[in-house]
């Protein structure tokens, strides 16, 4: 019901404004969305921009998970690691990932993954994955994953750990067979939140100078050319892809942690 009201109001104001550079008609935006492979303003299609953005996010996110999960397991389990990391965490946590974007641009310039590996000119996707963007996505994804993992480890019921120890579990097996599976639901929550934040951060990062492709870049570019139908269609796509990513992780976590939902 609510979406219909919003669309109705949008159409009403669009007709009244009668200015596509301010607010385009609903039809114009839909027309953009049903042609996802059509070139836009000589920058490539929606599909291409989404793939570029998603590749950046997925790569940065995988890095965040690869470092956030093991580190979270250690910090959650061992007091030594907790003492080592908690002051840094408390300072860094309130620092929004977007605040890091200018810093990352200054440090990493516009170096891409391809350039790091010595490939100067390339048409592959790696030519579009800038280190600075990777860094802010990593940063944005890292904290939710890391903090949720710590929380997961800390809330593993002591009785599970003691039972396993009584049945002859050694430390590394205790980690693999008890602590990790018991914290998995919390870890997956962290992944879901982290992926959402990464997706938000990449859009912001792509809007800044030095960006050459991606859905955030497309938004900024279409704004400058006052192509509002492209802009609004991009926004709808961002929402849709974000929701899809979130459902993907949720689908995974529902399947792996049925027991948690069923346990009272």
């Amino acid at each position: 019901m609510l979406p219909l009201i919003i669309i109705g109001a949008w159409e009403y104001f669009a007709v009244r404004a009668d200015n596509p550079a301010l607010l385009p008609r609903v039809e114009a935006v839909i027309n953009r969305l049903v042609h996802p492979f059509a070139d836009l303003l000589d920058t490539g299609s929606y599909v291409r921009h989404v793939i570029v953005s998603a590749s950046r996010v997925v790569l940065g996110f995988i890095l965040a998970a690869l470092i956030g999960i093991p580190l979270g397991l250690l910090v959650g389990r061992y007091l030594l690691f907790h003492r080592l990391f908690s002051p840094i965490i408390e300072i860094l946590r309130p620092l929004c990932p977007i605040a890091w974007i200018p810093f990352a641009m200054a440090i990493f310039k516009t170096y891409t993954i391809a350039e790091v590996f010595g490939v100067r000119y390339t048409t592959t996707i790696f030519g579009h994955i800038q280190l600075g963007m990777l860094f802010v996505i990593f940063y944005g994804g890292f904290f939710p994953i890391f903090l949720n993992t710590i929380h997961g480890v800390k809330s593993v019921k002591n009785i599970f750990i003691e039972s396993a120890l009584l049945l002859g579990a050694e430390q590394h097996k205790l980690f693999r067979k008890v602590i990790f599976p018991a914290s998995l639901p919390a870890i997956l929550t962290g992944l879901r939140v982290g992926l959402g934040i990464s997706w938000m951060v990449i859009i912001a990062a792509e809007m800044l100078p030095g960006s050459d492709a991606g859905i955030g870049y497309l938004i900024m570019f279409s704004y400058q050319l006052a192509e509002m139908d492209i802009l609004i269609a991009s926004m709808i796509l961002i929402g849709a892809v974000g929701a899809l990513l979130s459902y993907g992780v949720k689908f995974m976590s529902d399947r792996t942690s049925v027991w948690q939902a069923k346990e009272r």
Binding site: I159, F160, E162, S163, A164, L165, L166, L167, G168, A169, E170, K173, K177, V178, P181, A182, L184, S257, V258, W259, Q260, K262, E263
Partner: protein
């Protein structure tokens, strides 16, 4: 020396206001191989603490515990403990829970499943191998917990009010099953309970504990023939005798006439 020897064990905790709480004071007893020893006593008398010390989950403040002449110094593979609370790993099905200890010993899957199935049958749960803990009733979960402990093949099996949360009928049935297992497997069992009826039904010997601080008050040898009949005169006589003693302990406490 006895199979299990507890020598002048004392356990002190630090309370919330940094005061000393003596959970166990100079507690000593012995248990022979193959015995079914029950420990009864009022809530908070340190029964659970005692079991945790024997299991090696905690260490005594002073005194020593020996199992087969070896001093208990942390967890050891010859002892395991079944908790009162449900302790199955909820993401594992029944057979993977029962096979857990074998998995820890790196026994291959085929072998450990074959072995685990036998223990599952032993506790009367054949057909539930693939079920998850949340699909089982409390009684069934405790059966799995017992099967899991038995699959570990401990010489000494400690049980901490394992049937405490179950209804009476289930409790009685599991008591009978546990006795059968004890007779077949010739285990040494130390079983903590706060119901006298349960102790008299199961035990070959009963230790009665009292609280503040926790220590052993008296002991009874139960030589009633098995299977024991709960409504027989002999059973009731023993039951009443222990009940009277326990009441005496509780009333001296109420008057504040604590001996220490």
């Amino acid at each position: 020396m006895s199979f299990l020897a507890v020598n002048r064990v004392k356990k002190v905790y630090w309370g919330e206001r940094k005061e000393e709480v003596i959970a166990l004071a100079d507690l000593s007893f012995a248990c022979e191989q193959g015995e079914f020893l029950c420990i009864v006593g009022p809530t908070g008398c340190g029964k659970t603490t005692l079991l945790r010390l024997i299991a090696g989950l905690e260490r005594p403040t002073s005194g020593e515990i020996h199992i087969q002449d070896k001093i208990v110094d942390g967890l050891n593979l010859d002892t395991t403990l079944v908790f009162q609370q449900y302790s199955l790993l909820p993401w594992r099905n029944v057979i993977d829970n029962v096979a857990f200890s074998m998995e820890m010993k790196n026994i291959n899957k085929k072998e450990r499943y074959a072995e685990a199935s036998q223990f599952i049958s032993l506790v009367g749960l054949r057909g539930f191998e693939q079920a998850f803990p949340y699909e089982l009733s409390g009684g069934m979960q405790q059966r799995v917990a017992i099967a899991r402990a038995l699959a570990h093949n401990p010489k000494l099996l400690l049980l901490d009010e394992p049937f405490g949360a179950l209804d009476e009928r289930t409790r009685h049935r599991l008591q009978e099953e546990l006795l059968t297992i004890w007779q077949q497997q010739t285990k040494t069992i130390v079983f903590v309970t706060h119901t006298i009826d349960e102790a008299v039904f199961l035990a070959s010997r009963i230790l009665v504990m009292r609280d503040r601080p926790g220590r052993i008050e008296t002991e009874y040898k139960i030589s009633l023939p098995r299977p024991r009949k709960r409504r027989s005169k002999e059973f009731l006589d023993v039951h009443i005798k222990i009940r009277e003693d326990l009441e005496k302990i509780l009333t001296t406490d109420d008057k504040g006439g604590d001996a220490l």
